[in-house]
């Protein structure tokens, strides 16, 4: 829901009034402002009450209009006197009597409307859309949608975007991580409180640490979901700094939180439980610190025939179609593959294999399966065999470029 205020010659007053209700205000000089009032229902009640409160607070004679989109609200405020509340899906009906010049558009559009004898929003909105598109092009289609009260766009918020950052110059340089974390905790708590007062959350933390007689040490943490708990943010930062600590004493700290809309989520009654995002992120950061960042994630197959090709994604990224569950013999891969020596029978089948996994006499084998590709970058050319040895069933391959044998893994 959006509210528009129109009062000729009183733009500063309108802006002051709008800022009482919302930080998201668009200025439309010389005499109109439009602002976002979503969420005010909880404070003031239904839209009529919100409109009355805005009218009471504005202090000058102004026209107030509330509508489901900014353009409809602006047109109503400019064209209808007093307080107007347009119910959803009633925009076209309410705007129909307004004069067409309020719609704006190019001088050529205005001349065409004049020639056609169209005077009001309703008359223009009632024209066949295909005919309008054919004769007036993109501009005509856009303006007809506005005349029907169907505009949908984001507000061009006035002024600079809100920035949440804090800087602190230290009297004594800090060498150890613990006092640095203590200082950061105070800064992050303050920034989180500011974010909370604006009903926002953070999805990125940026920290710059000015080092003594050296450059800056910077830390950037991108969070998978927006968060507002200072303890979680601080813990993530602490883990990152302990993984990659600054090399010198710190003499200046600058912290910035990138603000986004907070996460809202409704859990389904019959859906399985999922890990709490904040807690999971801290746990994953701890695990990444321990085993390395590249070793934690959700595997994704790469679209190639090259064996053992997968990459790590964030958990829950990407979607997969439903697949049927059928038990199939799985391969347990040795990473890296074990270098091996292979002896063949007279019939060119593997007879004996020697590797770090043991020395095996081959009971049965299937192959060779030839696979190759990637000639445009790092090529591979393999000959694969499945072999049965006393210890189990294994897959071996020969790299035909290097003429070396490897044990890939065992079927398990």
């Amino acid at each position: 829901m959006y509210a528009a205020l129109h009062a000729p010659g009183n733009l500063p007053v309108l802006l002051a009034c709008a800022s009482h209700f919302s930080p998201l205000i668009e200025e439309l000089p010389p005499d109109t402002v439009v602002f976002d009032i979503r969420g005010l229902r909880l404070i003031f009640g239904p839209p009529e009450e919100i409109a009355a409160e805005i009218d009471r607070r504005v202090g000058v004679h102004a026209h107030v209009a509330l509508a489901s989109n900014p353009d409809a609200a602006v047109h109503a405020a400019r064209g209808i006197r007093g307080v107007t509340v347009i119910a959803p899906n009633r925009e076209a009906e309410t705007l129909a009597p307004l004069p067409l010049f309020l719609l704006g558009g190019s001088p050529e559009f205005a001349r065409t409307m004049d020639r056609w004898g169209l005077r009001t929003f309703g008359q223009f909105a009632g024209l066949p859309p295909l005919g309008v598109a054919a004769r007036l092009g993109e501009e005509g289609t856009f303006l007809q949608r506005l005349a029907q009260g169907q505009g949908s766009r984001l507000l061009k918020v006035r002024g600079e975007a809100l920035r949440f950052h804090e800087e602190r110059e230290l009297e004594c340089s800090v060498i150890l991580l613990e006092p640095l974390i203590l200082l950061l905790s105070g800064m992050i708590e303050g920034l989180c409180a500011r974010l909370r007062s604006h009903s926002l959350a953070a999805n990125e933390i940026r920290v710059w640490l000015k080092q003594e007689r050296a450059g800056e040490h910077s830390v950037e943490l991108r969070l998978p979901v927006s968060m507002l708990d200072p303890r979680v943010l601080l813990r993530l930062l602490e883990l990152e700094l302990s993984r990659r600590p600054p090399q010198r004493a710190i003499e200046k700290i600058r912290v910035e939180l990138i603000a986004v809309e907070p996460r809202t989520m409704q859990h389904g009654l019959f859906l399985p439980a999922t890990p709490e995002p904040e807690k999971l992120e801290v746990t994953l950061a701890r695990i990444r610190n321990m085993v390395g960042a590249g070793n934690v994630g959700s595997p994704e197959l790469v679209d190639t025939h090259r064996p053992d090709s997968s990459r790590m994604n964030a958990l829950g990224d990407g979607c997969q179609d439903a697949v049927s569950i059928a038990p199939r013999l799985a391969l347990r891969r040795f990473r890296p593959p074990c270098l091996a020596q292979v002896w063949f029978t007279e019939g060119s089948r593997p007879e004996r294999v020697f590797s770090s996994k043991g020395e095996w006499r081959v009971h049965a084998s299937a192959g060779p399966w030839l696979t190759s590709g990637g000639w445009w970058e790092s090529s591979w050319d393999w000959e694969e065999w499945d072999i049965q040895v006393p210890e189990g069933v294994y897959r071996i391959h020969q790299d035909l470029c290097g003429r070396r044998w490897f044990v890939d893994g065992n079927y398990d």
Binding site: P272, A273, P275, N295, P307, G316, Q320, V323, P327, L329
Partner: protein, 206 residues
Amino acid sequence: MVALASTLRASDLERSSGFLAFPFGEVPRGAFTEIAGPASSGRTTMLCSLLAAASAGQEYCALIDAQSTFDPESAARAGVRLSRVLWVRCGGNVEHALKAADWLAQGGGFGMVALDLAGTPVEISHRIPLTAWFRLRQAVINTKTVLVSVSRRVHAPSCSALKIELGRPQVSWRGSGQGRLLESITVTAGHVRNHRRSESPVTIPW
């Protein structure tokens, strides 16, 4: 198929929060299940089937891979929705694997936490103190999480609600000469209860 759920003790059944059904039977939720067997006995296939069953139900699964031997391609073939699986590669460090499993189990919210120690030498995995297994089990009690470990031998018989022991495989081949193909393996899947072992054969196609 083996009806593994029937192996649960009455007290375990009362404590567990339901079962996760998978192609080989059922495993208890909120309890600890051990899958043990030698190489090529179908341990990984069983693990992939469990992951597939849990991920098909929109649950998130954590796989802590002590030796980094998990093959996503095989898992995808078995029906695992990989985007629902958190894979932690520990590069052979069992201590890291235990810590990661503990943190993830304590964090909650996962439908399944699997600790894969199948590639770890028995002499190393046997050194894991029993308290570590009890701590892991304690983290999932009264939750919907299935806690599974895969290894060569059963390590914590007093801690696990269900022990699945797999025997030596019998390998079937099809065709001959150049056209020969690996067809399936047949293993004996058994459960241990009150020191008595009962077995049934399981055939896993390639």
